[in-house]
């Protein structure tokens, strides 16, 4: 996910413009950027230098700017989001052509990759954006075909939450230790069933008993005793809650 690095909106905006301009000329002249963004050439140069430092562009004075590989990736992604949004605003929400560009400019920065994907499904994999009929860049998801991508959206979510380093599988929890459910992976139906049974994100669980020979684990969750097979249990991850004051001594903390 590209959201790991949070880029400022202006960075994204610059990269987007560079993407568009570099389809016509390479390297892109800074004057073209400044006229497109309606910003003085001086501040454009300043920003470009900043982008170069971050590794998104190569800049040689008097010649112009070219996108690095990394820069191209970010730029095409943001452009894709922008154009998909334009399509959405125009086709689904029936907003006038002239207005969609500005609106999309606002929205593109906060659109997650998942949302982008769903948008693409909703619009049935569009090729062009409505206002100037430019091509929408391809997505950078690892799917062979659009069809494959579609199926996954409908059916399977095989992970919920984010797997951080400090998380522990419940099979590794000690008895009577408390943990907060933070990450579940596995079969979609199993995840749904677990959530119905109370193992939702943030729910507090503790281990009551573990059967030997890789047998199931008995948990206490939301006041109910739940047995989970080892293969399911090992894919539920928690953040251990350190108890600062153990008033009750643990033994009577369940029931």
């Amino acid at each position: 996910m590209s959201s790991e690095k949070i880029l400022s909106e202006s960075t994204e905006e610059y990269l987007e413009v560079l993407y568009k301009l570099s389809l016509k000329e390479r390297p892109v002249k800074t004057t073209n950027i400044s006229s497109m963004l309606n910003i003085s050439p001086a501040s454009v140069t300043q920003m470009i230098k900043k982008l170069e430092k971050e590794g998104y562009v190569h800049y040689s004075p008097y010649k112009g700017v070219t996108l690095t590989e990394e820069g191209y990736k970010v730029a095409s992604n943001i452009t894709r989001k922008h154009r998909l949004l334009e399509r959405f605003l125009h086709d689904v929400l029936k907003i006038k052509k002239e207005k969609v560009h500005d609106q999309a400019c606002e929205m593109e920065h906060s659109l997650s990759d998942d949302a982008e994907r769903a948008l693409c499904h909703l619009l049935k994999n569009p090729d062009e954006c409505p206002d100037d009929e430019e091509l929408i860049p391809v997505c950078d998801f690892k799917f062979e075909t659009c069809e494959e991508c579609h199926k996954r959206r409908q059916e399977e979510v095989n992970e919920v939450g984010k797997r951080d380093k400090n998380l522990v599988s419940i099979t590794d929890m000690k008895k009577n230790e408390k943990g907060k459910v933070s990450f579940i992976r596995g079969d979609y139906k199993v995840i749904r069933r677990l959530m119905d049974m109370g193992i939702t994100m943030g729910a507090q669980v503790s281990v009551l008993e573990v059967a030997p020979f890789k047998g199931p684990v008995e948990l206490l969750v939301r006041g109910s005793h739940l047995a989970l097979g080892r293969d399911i249990a090992k894919n539920v991850f928690v953040e251990i809650i350190r108890e600062t004051t153990s008033r009750s001594g643990g033994a009577v903390s369940y029931g």
Partner: protein, 668 residues
């Protein structure tokens, strides 16, 4: 895990259902239709039994292998039809029970739904209650097992709960009948007023906003699925495939909009929308539960102490083994004892051995009578005690503890802990055992379990092993056959797993608190189960036995037996008449023995060599399931699966038998 077997009246139900969508299974007109809904093991069936008494039928939901229990109650001149919905935790589409329940509530519109809660696990139970309220049905809540909650240290203020939910709440202890009169009174009142909880419980901030937005949109699109639109909106956001499909056929725009809203939510929380809604609903349930319950002083109860032992990493295995052994010993010892009494009593009237000569009518009569005795000596001594014990083990919660301990072993043949129960049953009789595979989640698992069961040495096969091998060869050879059978079960289980690959369902099982089950529920459950089994087994026994004996007398079996000679005599090295024994044995395995006796007299050692005894016992043990087993296989899994299983049995028997015949004749 309270499961009742489906009943023979299934087809009747389908008829009544197709002719009139409303419930009119009873001949009397019903004033009120009442549905019981709630999680599994909250005491719904206890309430159902209390209310309906003996006036109840257990059938099947049309086309589904889910039990449909219904009954009638006369209350102050009103005729109340009660339906006990299966115990479920949510209204998703991941199990038949859930689909059946939600479609019943939406399409058959019960006048009132009684939502039964387990007071000791209030929060988890309220998760379901909230979903029921979203469906906007007239409802009453019975907070059951107040006594167990108190033992666990929870004091529940039902008035506060009533205020928080806006639905009438009645505290009950169903096992003692407490509060049930009040519950039914409130339910009638609600059904008369058709009172639907007006203000739905609202979710937190943006989730509620999104639900409302979608609900308004659905209304503007004039979507009506029979469910409330708020519920449909929530289900769409939860990505419910069934509702998605239904809405999509009416308005694609609605789906697009819901996808868009779901994404908006996912963006905020960085989680799939179904997960957000589950969390929000639980947060709500938690708040309501916390507001209505107070912790009070409590002692660690006996059941909790017992529980510690039952799932102890070491003692747990002993107790599990004890439970299994206890069940087997109880069934066998008691069963054999009663079986003998019945056989003796019946032979007083008529010889029960197969008649192999005489006038046709006499043979038919003898055959039919023999079949009747066969049925009686199966159902009364073995099945009834077994069902009673099983019901106890199930309802007390013992079974979940055994499943917990045994899960890792069962995983080896692709099944989880709960599948142990049908397998143990198989040692008694395959028919109820296959029936009980219903407790497993998927058809694949049910099939795997049923397949393993057909190899288990049921009581009839045990009799063959004992009387052929133990008496005429040696007890050690009999034991060896038993051990061999267990190995065969394991090997065949592994093979079946190879043949039917697929994800095996992991164990997700609630371990509700241990309790002494109410004997009225036990007896009624046993009665319903026995009844449905009787309807199925008796006609087969009677007709099958009569026909086969008739065939024999008419000389039809002789040519078949001769035709089979290359196999029986050549490969298995048995006497020529063995073909007839095996055909007769299909009706009922003991017939192998009885027919043999009628051929050669009681001293069997004159006719067979030790190797032949062992081979005959082996074949008799494995070769094909008996008629009643085949018929339940057909009922549960269809003709194709039943034939495949029978064929696999036959091939295994011939292979193992032939090899044994050739190898053993070198030594013995």
């Amino acid at each position: 895990m309270v499961k009742l077997p489906e009943c023979i009246e299934k087809s009747d139900y389908e008829k009544t259902l197709s002719s009139s969508p409303k419930n009119e299974t009873s001949s009397q007109p019903c004033d009120i239709t009442l549905a019981l809904a709630g999680n599994a093991n909250v005491g719904k069936s206890v309430i159902f039994n209390y209310l309906t008494g003996s006036d109840q039928v257990v059938g099947n939901w049309p086309g589904k292998t889910v039990d449909r229990a219904e009954g009638n109650l006369q209350y102050k001149g009103q005729n109340i039809h009660i339906i006990d919905l299966p115990g479920i935790y949510s209204f998703s589409t991941f199990s038949m029970e859930e689909i059946v329940s939600r479609e019943y509530i939406a399409y058959e519109n019960p006048d009132v739904v009684i939502n039964v809660l387990d007071a000791s696990v209030l929060e988890r139970n309220l998760f379901f209650t909230l979903q029921l309220m979203e469906m906007e049905v007239p409802m009453v809540i019975g907070v059951n097992q107040m006594d167990i909650a108190l033992q666990k240290g929870f004091q529940i203020d039902t008035e506060k709960l009533e205020k928080a939910l806006g639905v009438p709440v009645v505290p009950t202890v169903a096992t003692r009948g407490e509060g049930l009169q009040k519950l039914i009174k409130k339910a009638i009142k609600v059904s008369e007023a058709k009172k639907i909880p007006k203000t739905p419980i609202e979710y937190g901030g943006e989730v509620e906003k999104v639900i409302k937005q979608l609900q308004t949109f659905l209304e503007s699109e004039n979507i009506n699925l029979g469910y409330s639109n708020r519920w449909v909106a929530i289900k769409l956001l939860e990505n419910d495939p069934e509702i998605n499909r239904q809405v999509e056929s009416l308005s694609e725009r609605a789906i697009q909009f819901s996808n868009y809203l779901a994404l908006e939510l996912e963006q905020i929380h960085n989680e799939p929308s179904f997960s957000i809604i589950a969390s929000e609903r639980y947060a709500l349930a938690n708040r309501i539960a916390a507001g209505a319950q107070e912790r009070c002083e409590y002692k660690i109860s006996l059941s909790e102490k017992l529980d510690k032992i039952l799932i102890h990493p070491l003692y747990g295995y002993f107790t599990s083994a004890l439970v299994i052994l206890g069940l087997l010993v109880w069934t066998f010892v008691l069963g054999n004892f009663i079986s003998e009494i019945i056989t003796n009593a019946m032979s007083f009237f008529q010889p029960v051995d197969p008649a192999m000569s005489g006038p046709v009518l006499a043979v038919l009569w003898n055959g039919a009578f023999g079949g009747l005795v066969a049925g009686l000596t199966l159902i009364v001594p073995f099945v009834i005690p077994f069902y009673i014990m099983l019901s106890y083990i199930e309802n007390s919660g013992l079974i979940t503890r055994v499943a917990f301990m045994m899960d890792s072993f069962m995983q080896k043949i692709g099944l989880h802990g709960k599948a142990l129960i049908p397998l143990i049953l198989g040692y008694g009789c395959s028919v109820p055992a296959i029936d009980s595979t219903k407790i497993l989640e998927t058809r694949r698992e049910r099939l795997l379990a049923a397949f393993a069961i057909t190899f288990a040495p049921c009581s009839a096969r045990t009799i063959i092993i004992l009387s052929l091998v133990a008496i005429f060869v040696s007890i050690w050879w009999a034991l060896a056959l038993y051990v061999l059978d267990i190995i065969i079960i394991f090997v065949m289980g592994k093979l079946a797993l190879k043949a039917m690959p697929g994800e095996s369902t992991g164990l997700i099982m609630e371990m509700h608190s241990l309790r002494l089950p109410s004997s009225s529920v036990i007896l009624k459950q046993t009665w319903n189960r026995t009844k449905s089994l009787t309807y199925m087994v008796f006609p087969i026994f009677i007709a099958g036995s009569a026909v086969i004996q008739l065939f024999y007398v008419l000389g039809v079996l002789e040519p078949i037996s001769n035709f089979m000679a290359p196999l029986t005599v050549g490969w298995l090295m048995l006497p020529a008449f063995a073909g007839i024994l095996l055909i007769v044995g299909v009706v009922r395995k003991e017939f192998v023995l009885l027919t043999l006796v009628s051929f050669v007299g009681t001293d069997l050692s004159l006719a067979l060599t030790p190797v032949q005894f062992i081979v005959l016992a082996l074949i008799g043990m494995l070769y094909i399931p008996c008629l009643s087993t085949i018929s339940i296989l057909i009922r549960e899994f269809g003709v194709k699966a039943a034939s495949v299983i029978s064929a696999a049995n036959l091939i295994t028997a011939l292979l193992v038998g032939g090899i044994a015949a050739h190898v053993l004749s070198l030594f013995l």
